[in-house]
Amino acid sequence: MFESVLVANRGEIASRVIHTVRAMGLKAIAVYSEADAELPFVAEADEAILLGPAQPAKSYLDQARVLEAARRTNAQAVHPGYGFLAENAEFAQRVIDAGLLWIGPDPLAIARMGDKINARNLMIEAGVPVSPGVWEPVPDADTAVEEAARIGYPVMVKAAGGGGGIGMSAAHDEAAVRKAYETARTRAERFFGNPDILLERYVERARHVEIQILGLADGSVIALGERDCSVQRRHQKIVEETPSPGVGAELRERMLAAAVRAGEAVGYRGAGTVECLVDPAAQDFVFLEMNTRLQVEHPITELVTGIDLVEQQLRIAAGEPVSFTSAEPRGHAIEFRVYAEDPQRFLPSPGEIKVWEEPVGEGVRIDAGYAEGNTVTPFYDPLLAKLCVYGADRPAALRHAQAAIDNFRIEGLKTNLPFFTELLGDAEFTAGTYDTGLVDRMRAR
């Protein structure tokens, strides 16, 4: 095993990774921007290097600065967390070329899965079902309209290099396709540096269900169960749970097998996630995309399996076997993403955290990125903390959730905690019959 890990990220995920790195007796090195100097992850690391100004392009996204920090601190490995440089194949290669261990899959696997058109085609070859769509980038709005007619409405228009729901929209007619195409195009160039656009059939009333996979050091791929991520606003996840209330045993078995095939198709190593859309009525699914990194919502898988996924990432990167023999999930876990945003319209609400009191109690896990006295700046995403609960079954997990939400006190800025209370009182959510349209329906009621 290597002896030191540079964590090329910030906030809650940096804290999360640093925790396991140190628990394994390794040295944790943080990097941070001027805006983040006071955040907990900087103090939690054994050593911390200032990267530069707040703007991500001048700090967390600046590959040369991150590599320079690794060189100065004699780091032996780099953990990218999620977001920022985590799915940047060029950066992964530069880490490897600098003689460091990259805690993630091969850069080629990142590149092949990072382009959603390429990933779709690869999945078709591997026998993983995909939604009807295009085989190559759509060059202009006219072609988008032709393709939409061929695929059948409604269609989803999105950036091939995209993520986080940015620049993605569903279209039900020709005019909407043109508008969606232009939006996707601008966003694709601005946010992802890849102008390619794809279209695929939009599955309405679908659930967003993903499978956690691990590509082991011996080359085999295993699946560790699913996470249901259907509670979304603006195509971004807010609440996730496992197991999915909408996936039966037979469908689960098929999805896990397909996720393993997907990982094998790219020679996947490390932790990855195969995202799918599920039609709960038909008990069927299609591949959506693969995330070649640790996922934000990985804690709920850890809660039901008892496995530390970051530890497995480090072991696999070191060429060692994983620490467990069986990974049979038990019980039910739910994650609530506590965002600095108003709970009604979900608009950002940066500001100073005047009070921060975390709930404690049975079955509660908090992965926080901030503490009392910190300032939440507008430069990064609004995630303050992940409130996770575990129970023997779903009703127990829901009870723990309500108690934990009631006892989480954050003052000084707006948070979406009140939305979670609203959600726990919603009939669709409590029945478990919800789909990705739930939040829009709640706001329309």
Partner: protein
């Protein structure tokens, strides 16, 4: 006369209108960016942009004046 103010701390990503432009209720004046989200700031009345107080790249605080519509 209507003052348009920032609802939150944000960076000014795009200025869509210029002083002297005729705008209608609902037109986008500027696009702010905060926490990886774009937030269009809209005119709430028909009128002329009498004053534009921000330029691209500026940081605005909650309550800062963005524009005046007359």
């Amino acid at each position: 006369m209507a003052e348009v103010r920032a609802e939150m701390v944000a960076n000014v990503w795009k200025v869509v209108v210029a002083e002297g432009d005729q705008v209608e209720d609902g037109d986008t004046l500027v696009i702010l960016e905060s926490m990886k989200m774009e937030i269009p700031v809209l005119a709430e009345d028909d009128g002329v942009v009498a004053r534009l107080d921000v330029s691209e790249g500026d940081v605005v605080q909650e309550g800062d004046l963005i524009a005046v519509i007359e």
